[in-house]
Structures are given as structure tokens and as C-alpha cells.
Amino acid sequence: MNGQIAQPETTLSRFHTWLAQSLVNNNEFFAYFEPFIRLAMPAWSTVGVRSRVMKVHSETGDVYSLVIRPGRRWKNFSAGQHVQISAELNGTLYTRTFSISTSPDYFRKTGLIELSIRSKPDGRVTPMLKEHFAKGGVCTLSDAGGDFLLPEGNEPLLLIAGGSGITPFRSMMNQLSSNSLRDVHLLFYIRNSSNALFRQELDRIAELHPNLKVTFINTEAEGQVCEEHLLRYCPDVADRIAMVCGPTPMIQGTRNLLSELGLPADQIRFEYFGAAPIEMEMTGEKSFVRFKTSGIATTTTPDEQMSLLDLAEKQGLTPQHGCRIGVCYQCVCTKESGVVFNTRTGQYSDTGKEDIQLCISVAASDLELNI
């Protein structure tokens, strides 16, 4: 799983791989023993750290938090980082990325972390996860990753959150509240002031710590992020390092605003909410397809009905393939995120990371492919 740094190849590691391939037909010996280990520890896996979901609690609205005790091999994390969680639902291992919404300090004291997740009514995985872990259970966690971190030093910060983009900031605010005198101002854009996520907790932090300020902005009454807001609520915006997390359009708009207000690029940090694999909307219009490995991107429309294999080839790429009719499985590639339509089964895929057959898949939303 990604998030792990590839080990440099040495003669010894090459020999080790060769030997494992020879003796157990796999790159690693552990894979061979996995079925035995699972007899003692169900859901044990060679990838990631086996961890325990202690409980699920509902936050406001359709957001819930998974309270997780990471396994002993799990390394620490920094406020603002995200983690991949994998769980088996009806025989299929689903993997999703979420920001950790509690602080490293809290983890040190209790050994627990929380992932706060919006349950999408039409989503496949987020509602299932909530149900699946209602009584707790076992999951697999990757190491924490991501570089949306509190900047070093003591410059004042402006944090701008939209909706459930608050999760990394919740972690940061809690962390700051335990050990810092840094001047931080959080602008939290919410749709409905009565059920803002983590409202009480954030209010309490602000009350106890004069250096930590929180402003809730109701988008229904006051509209989206604009210059007027920024100057009104945070007149010294240009002297701060700004960090933005929320839905894609909000991030793009806010970044433009901030640079118009005179913030240099290195003073603007942002994170598309939910880290890399965003649960994307099915557009029904133009889809943006990004070939990650080759760094090529293109757009396609649904009425073109071009298979992703054709699309990739049109861009001059040469993915491996054979039959072009979905039989041979040579064209399988990893989709990092987005929805594809399978022309053979007539079904839409899941939004997250999974393997797809290029020759019978058509883009149904923005896509990121590992080619």
C-alpha cells in the first residue's frame, strides 16, 4: 500500500525476493503464512497494521467518527496527516483515506485516534463502514502520510475550513491547545450554524486559549469565502500563513483570493478534503482523466464512449493489453480514485482505489489512473 517508502534495492534484498519467489511463489515469505496467521488473528495482513476499531460515535449531521486503537507497529503521526483504512465488507477489502481528526497528544495519552467521516447517502462505502463497525471490529491502517502540517516556527496562522474539511484542523487545534502560544485564527465555513461539526469542542478551546480564535461563518447567511470576509474577520491576513481544507471549488477560489490579497505562494498551504482519493461526484459531463505515472492528463465526455484503453493510447501511452474485450485481464490497472462504468457488466465502480480493466471501462467521473 502506498504511504510506505520503497526500500532501496540491494543485492541482499534482491536475493531475498528471488528466494521467496522460488520457495513460496511470492515476493515476501509472510504472504505464504498469512492464512495461518489469520487463524490466530483474523484480518491480519502483510500490508498495513492490524488495528482495532473500538466504537463509532455520531457527530453532528451525517458525520460519524471511528475511534481506533492502532496496532503496536503503527508509527506516530503529526497533526493534519491522513491515513488509509482498509476493512473487509462482504468479502471485498475496501480502502479509503481520511484525515485523523484527533491530536498526536491525545494519541500519546490514550493510544487512540479518531477518523471523522461524512456518510454519503448515495456512497457505497462510507455508510457501510459505519454499520460494519457499530460494535467495533478489526481494520488495517497504513502509516500516516501527507504534508498538510502545522508549519514550523511561530508565525501566526489562518486556517480556513469548509464543511468536513475541518477534520485536520480539529487535530491541529487540539494539538496547539496543549502546548503552544502561537496566534491562530480558524475560519470555519458551515452550512447550518446549529449543527456545525465539533462546535462545542472548538468553542471551548477558543475560550480557554486566547491565542486560538475560532469564527463560524454560515454560508447560507453570509455566502462563500470572499475578500470581504477575510478582511473583516482577519485584517492581518497577509501576515499569516494560510491553510485551506475543504471541497475542491472552495480551495481553488480561496487560493486565488489569498494571492490577490498579497500572500506569496509559499504562505498558502492547502489540502483537498479527504486527501488524495476524493469521493468525486459523477459529473455526467466532461471528465478529467489523469494518468498519474506518466503525468499526462486529458478530458473525455460520456457520449464519446471511449474505453480508457483507447483513451490512453490516444494520448500516446501504451498500456499492456490483449483481447480488448474484457477476457484476458492483461489490461488491469489501478484506479486511484473516481468512478468508471463497466461496459460489459453495465455497472458503475466504487469511487476509491481498486483495480479495473481498461478495455471495458469508460470514465464516469474525474479519474486518476496509475499508468
Partner: protein, 371 residues
């Protein structure tokens, strides 16, 4: 002799029936299938490790050696057939399990995974029994229909058949490279430049070295270190016997799937631009099933359901028995011949076919029996 194809219209209804059967089965795929294949993997591992260990006890009594060889032989059969073959078809890709994944899986056999996906998944499954396209039909070694011109060499083809059965894993491993070598010989005759096959060679020797090292050097050597030199040969011959058991079984099952007396062949022209219905039709006529208890189905990797496997190569094998009844009923409704019989009956039918086409055809009067 090749088979004429019914009109596209008459096949449309047939296609829809089969699609429905497929969709119904795929809708049920989930935990049950995942648990099944995991159980099979566990049993395979127990037999693999157990067989190797018990064989060592041949030291005390030869019966242990026999038992160990049998266990290891069965482990290899399960590894190749129910696990390897089916995993590499992508049947269990829905699980997102990195160790049961079509592209990453490799099996206990001389043929490399990549070569298998090209020759078997692509050539054989796409162009099933199309003379000149599906080299699995006779493997360029046997003459199994009138489409191949008779040569005196074929008189002895029963011996070739026996030889290929004993050495089956090597025949499969060499299959792709063999095709290139034959092509290059043709090219040379026609004065064309040879195609480069150095990569295939590296692939072939790379994998061969791994399996030879394990069965004929590593394990015999390991045991010999502790128990003395004579044990080296005991394990050496034991492993060879297990490999031969697997070879005979695998070859026999596979021949019963495509080389029985009533199996049809097709001309290259017939499958140009064919519809899914035509493709289905060709798959059914080009394959044959056999009946038996559940254990026989599992030990054959469900290739006893060759017809269903060819219709839906990526459906979990666990489902083949249940769809078989429906497919058979659909064939009866549409008047499509469905080839099945007892294991023994199908096997003798294969032998009959091999013997029949080894004889010199009686000039013009020969009636095409393959049709």
C-alpha cells in the same frame, strides 16, 4: 473442419439469456466466495507444508514417503488449478486482496504468470478453438482435426501425447516461446527477419530456475544437511513424483475440456467482428464438461465446468456449478449442443480423437468428423 455460425439474430436471444445468468450469479458474489477461496488456500498450504514434512519421515518407513508425495502432489494440483488458474483469470479480484490478485499471483509451476496471461487468458480464451489463432488447440504438437495437414510424423502422436502429459508444466511453460521459435523458422524459410524473443527466453529460464532450485536443490539439500546424503535423493525423487502427479492430472483435465470427440473448431474469418452472442456460441461448442462429485470439481479447478468457465472466465469458480444448470437449460431452449459426460467417458473420447487424427486421412472421401 470448421463450424458454420448461426445468424446473428438467432443468437441475440441466447446472448440475453446468458447475460442474465451471468448477472444473477455476479450479484451474489461476496463473502461466501471470498471465504471459499481462502479456505482452499489454507488447505493447500497445509498439504504443501505437510507433504514436504511427511516425506522426510520416509526415513522411518517408505509409506510416509508415499503419503508425503501424494500430499504434495495434491497441493500442487490445488495450487495450479483451483487457486492459480482461477486467480489469474481475475475471478477473485473483487476481493482486492493483494495476494489473490490476477496480475500479482504466481503459481507453483514452470510457466511464468505473464506468459500464461498472454497465451492462455488472451489467445486461448479469446480465440477458443479458432484454427491458426488458438495455439492451445493441439499446442502445435498434436493433430486434433482435419484443419491440420497430415504428416507421417503424426502416426506417433500418441507417444507425443504421453510425453506431453508427463512433462505438462514444461510444455505449458515452453508454449509461448515455442510459438515464436516456430514463427522464426517460418520467417527464415521465407527470408524474413526473425522476431526478437530474448525477453521470452529470459522469462522462461528465470522461472524455470526458480522451480528447479526449490524442488531439486533447496529442499533435498536442506533435508540432507540434517539427515545425511541419501535423504537428498529421497526428497529429490519425491518432489519429482509430486510434480509428475500434478502434470498428469492437469493435462488430463485440460484435454477433457477441449479435445473431446465432439468439440468443434472454427475458421479465423468466422470470428471477425463477432457479437457477444456469437462469441458465447463458439465458446460453448469449443468446450466440454464432465460430471462428478464436488471434490472432483474442486480438484479440477472447476474446469469440469469448462463450458461455463469459457462463457464467464472471470466469474468466481465457486459459482460455476450453480450456473451450469441454468446454462444447460438455456442451451436446451435454444437448441445449442451442450457437451458433457462422465469423466471417464470424456477421457476416452479424447484418446479416441488423438488416435483418430494420427491416422492418414483416406484421401477425399474423409468425412469431416469435427463438425
Amino acid at each position: 473442419m470448421t463450424t458454420p455460425m448461426p445468424s446473428a439474430e438467432s443468437l441475440k436471444a441466447f446472448e440475453e439469456d446468458l447475460n442474465q445468468i451471468r448477472d444473477e450469479a455476479l450479484a451474489k458474489v461476496g463473502k461466501e466466495d471470498a471465504d471459499y477461496i481462502r479456505r482452499v488456500v489454507l488447505v493447500q498450504r497445509v498439504l504443501d507444508l505437510g507433504g514436504r514434512a511427511v516425506m522426510v519421515a520416509g526415513f522411518y518407513h517408505w509409506a510416509f514417503w508415499v503419503l508425503g508425495v501424494a500430499m504434495l502432489g495434491i497441493a500442487k494440483i490445488i495450487n495450479n488449478m483451483e487457486i492459480g488458474h482461477n486467480i489469474m483469470h481475475g475471478q477473485y479480484d473483487f476481493m482486492n486482496d493483494p495476494h489473490l490478485n490476477s496480475l500479482k499471483y504466481d503459481w507453483d509451476g514452470a510457466c511464468s504468470g505473464g506468459s500464461w496471461r498472454r497465451t492462455h487468458n488472451f489467445e486461448h480464451h479469446t480465440y477458443t478453438n479458432v484454427i491458426g489463432k488458438d495455439r492451445d488447440f493441439g499446442y502445435d504438437v498434436l493433430r486434433l482435426s482435419d484443419d491440420v495437414e497430415w504428416k507421417p510424423l503424426y502416426r506417433m502422436q500418441f507417444l507425443r501425447y504421453l510425453n506431453m502429459t508427463l512433462m505438462f508444466q514444461w510444455a505449458v511453460a515452453f508454449h509461448e516461446l515455442h510459438g515464436y521459435i516456430l514463427r522464426n523458422m517460418r520467417n527464415k524459410r521465407e527470408g524474413k527477419a526473425p522476431t526478437d524473443n530474448s525477453e521470452l527466453k529470459a522469462d522462461f529460464y528465470g522461472k524455470a530456475l526458480k522451480v528447479l532450485f526449490r524442488d531439486y536443490l533447496f529442499f533435498p539439500g536442506l533435508v540432507a544437511i540434517f539427515l545425511g546424503w541419501p535423504m537428498f535423493w529421497m526428497i529429490f525423487w519425491g518432489n519429482m513424483a509430486a510434480n509428475v502427479i500434478r502434470n498428469i492430472w492437469a493435462a488430463t483435465i485440460i484435454y477433457c475440456g477441449h479435445f473431446t470427440g465432439n468439440v468443434h473448431t472454427f475458421a479465423e474469418k468466422e470470428c471477425e467482428g463477432e457479437s457477444r452472442g456469437q462469441w458465447y456460441y463458439r465458446q460453448i461448442l469449443g468446450s466440454s464438461n464432465f460430471e462428478g462429485p464436488r471434490l472432483l470439481h474442486i480438484m479440477s479447478g472447476h474446469l469440469s465446468r469448462q463450458v461455463e468457465h469459457h462463457l464467464f472466465p472471470d466469474m468466481p469458480s465457486y459459482r460455476y456449478n450453480e450456473v451450469a444448470q441454468k446454462v444447460r437449460a438455456a442451451c436446451a431452449r435454444h437448441g445449442v449442443p451442450y457437451n458433457t459426460g462422465s469423466f471417464g467417458g470424456q477421457y476416452f473420447s479424447v484418446i479416441g480423437r488423438i488416435l483418430k487424427y494420427s491416422r492418414k486421412p483416406k484421401a477425399q472421401t474423409q468425412t469431416p468428423a469435427a463438425a
